[in-house]
Symmetry: C2
Subunit: 445 residues, 2 copies
């Protein structure tokens, strides 16, 4: 059990390659695309990524914290822009806690460099996986330019080839494989908000900006070059939708009406809007993740919607969990993959659910008075009693608690907070000792 | 819009072919398997089929009621066998209402004959569908013996190629196609209970026999040759399961212990058990069902578990619904397929859910006192006020009510009956006028 083959050199594949190589495995990676480090970044898929605690743990595992920190921008909370352009700030966690805006391409390059240059991983670019023979532990590849065919045998194969995984497609042909692909009714389109004429950020740098509008929303994350990557999430059809604004009042009028403060600072809106493609959002659920000595992880086994900022973080956590199991079993692989999938599947399901809920929260609730007050109360209790009350968002973002446990505890907290929020004079005495006591004793009952 | 291509000559494909040919379309059918009418029936998949009202309506549509009646055996209710071998009878509906046991092969042959011999449908056997080009409305086939390739262009293409549909597999490659395949934890294995030594049925002929045992069950349906096709439904793993009995106490001992009356009449149990394969049960959900002028229907778009006896019936009802739409739109196809999928999808989802629930009912509840009493009360009200109260089972089985409406009304009825069943002395006065009035007035509130 020494030869490892990884299909896909994206974020999770590159990290896994580095980690397994550190542990003494001979690792080869095959990647369908050309080497992104040698050519200009494609605009392709790149919702900016928000790196949080679970991601950092995995980055630590391969010794890259400092390197990644140098290209990451902390965002300490949400700046919520209402329809009049008024802005409210909501901290994500305790003082100093932040999620970090990073560029997908930059981070991927850092991980590839680590794997390839420091850790002797071979990365073969331009090879598309055609099929995997699980019983023989063989993968077949074809070179995208030359058409050359190649087989690779390995002791272990990992499919980290993303939401449209070929490795998983072959698993789908094996008996009793459960599989679901669900496209949500919403798509997204990016916009690039450039630096100001004087070369500065056009919005507060250290925050994630949201323009929540009920059925749709706009968000913005800072880039190192002082631009912001902005993303409009909206249904494909209905009112309003990508279809209705493009065929109706038009993009410029729509933005002016519903995102007036953004419209005022965004030059060349119409052209920029049309320069970016309209992209899908898919949720992938499947099981099992393992066939013989092949295992899928990351988006390949559990692609989620991006609204909790946990897509990459959960994929990275897959690697940490696997790392722990490899150590616990002292590299004896007989039970490792099966234990991995059994342990990890409930957490993948939980974060899939949480991510969908957070979409509703982001677009509907973050503009809601009652919701904002609830968050303020929870934040206060958390600050005063960090050991007794950790809001769900913090559990997911700033802890290593299992997603499935966070989901369950979040449900309990919601029940308690519903009672609290139903108190008639809660807006007046939300920060009283009485409320605090009530919440903490409810927690213990 | 004259040339119709149908992929798959199973039950739904053959019926659809006959119906469209009657309506004046030129219909070609391609079928992967050889002509079943020319060779001995394969044992393959053949849970006996239970034909009910929705199925008959579609059979009427192609003028085959009498022909099918001659090979169908009415089953007026369930014979429930308890663990001591005691038997209770539960009528399915009103006096004279029955579901009909038919052989899948026989019915399919009758439908093919009608399409091919009476209605000029061409059926091409041994051609496997390789792919469909939806934009061009072209399907590619390969002959399973000669390897010959062939293309067929048509104005309309229908995919009736079953739960593992190739037409659907190609749809899965088109943008934003939602898809789910879910294998339930249970599988099934058939047994053939032969006629007695004197050539008679070994069980009451005009009933569906059930041995409900909680997590698993055995059922038996009559055949024309005085045998019964029996099916054991059980989890693959756990206790008890196919795995646990085969590796544990053994098949014979298990049957003797849990199905003693069946064990007593079944000759050569062990050999017969192993002569039949262990088969999967899958639920398929997907949407849309239409791409350009190609539409999938039957199991290809909504395969369900067999526990409501509605798999074939719902596929046949697809054909009736489509038939009605074709007439309503006077063969102007522009809106027909889209209206078909929009109309039919909620009903497909509803019957998928009902079928899973009926599994729980069949294996767990039909042996339960409270449940039996509830059924008795509902049957009585239905008999006395057929216009005011139709039990869910009757709505699904003996009416043409939309499945989605039946599901909703069933939920309302359950609420009412839960209250009734919670009455302390219900077992004594279940048939009183007071209870009847209570139920009917709850219905109207």
């Amino acid at each position: 059990m020494k030869d490892v083959l990884i299909v896909g050199a994206g974020l999770v594949g590159s990290l896994l390659a580095a980690n397994l190589s550190q542990k003494g495995y001979r690792v080869k990676v095959y990647e369908r695309r050309p080497d992104m480090r040698k050519q200009s970044m494609s605009a392709g898929k790149s919702i900016n990524l928000a790196l949080s605690e679970r991601g950092w743990k995995a980055i630590d595992m391969v010794g890259l914290r400092e390197r990644v920190q140098s290209v990451a921008i902390p965002m300490y909370g949400r700046k919520i822009h209402d329809i009049k352009g008024e802005v409210t700030f909501q901290a994500y966690g305790l003082e100093g806690q932040a999620i970090y805006s990073v560029s997908r391409g930059e981070l991927n390059a850092v991980l590839m460099d680590r794997a390839e240059k420091d850790l002797d991983v071979q990365i073969h670019f331009g090879w598309k996986c055609i099929s995997v023979d699980f019983e023989r532990s063989v993968a077949h590849f074809e070179h995208s330019e030359t058409g050359e065919q190649r087989e690779e045998v390995a002791d272990l194969i990992f499919g980290t080839d993303g939401a449209f995984s070929q490795v998983r497609a072959d698993m789908q042909k094996t008996p009793r494989f459960n599989y679901q692909q669900e496209f949500i009714p919403h798509g997204y389109r990016e916009l690039l908000l450039p630096p100001s004429d004087t070369g500065e950020y056009r919005l507060e740098k250290n925050a994630l900006h949201i323009w929540p509008r009920g059925g749709y929303m706009l968000i913005a994350l800072p880039n190192l070059d002082k631009s912001f990557t902005c993303t409009l999430f909206m249904p494909y059809e209905g009112e309003p939708s990508f279809s209705s604004i493009e065929n109706g009042e038009g993009v410029d009028a729509f933005f002016k009406r519903v995102f007036p403060d953004f419209h005022a600072i965004m030059p060349g809106l119409e052209a920029d809007y049309h320069a970016h493609p309209l992209s899908d959002l898919v949720i992938i659920r499947c099981y099992p993740w393992v066939r013989h000595r092949t295992c899928i992880l990351g988006d390949a086994s559990h692609a989620i919607v991006p609204f909790y900022g946990q897509g990459m973080n959960s994929g990275f956590e897959d690697c940490s969990v696997l790392n722990t199991l490899i150590d616990a079993h002292d590299n004896q692989w007989d039970g490792i993959l099966d234990e991995f999938q059994k342990t990890r599947k409930p957490d993948a399901d939980a974060i899939a659910e949480l991510a969908m809920r957070n979409y509703i929260e982001m677009r509907d609730l973050v503009g809601d008075e009652r919701f904002l007050l609830q968050k303020k109360i929870e934040a206060r209790i958390h600050e005063r009693h960090p050991d007794k009350w950790m809001p769900l968002y913090s559990q997911v973002t700033f802890s290593h608690r299992r997603y499935s446990e966070a989901l369950r505890e979040g449900q309990e907290q919601d029940k308690i907070m519903d009672e609290i929020m139903d108190m008639p004079d809660i807006a007046q005495r939300w920060d009283s000792l009485e409320i605090e006591t009530k919440i903490l004793s409810a927690k213990n009952r």
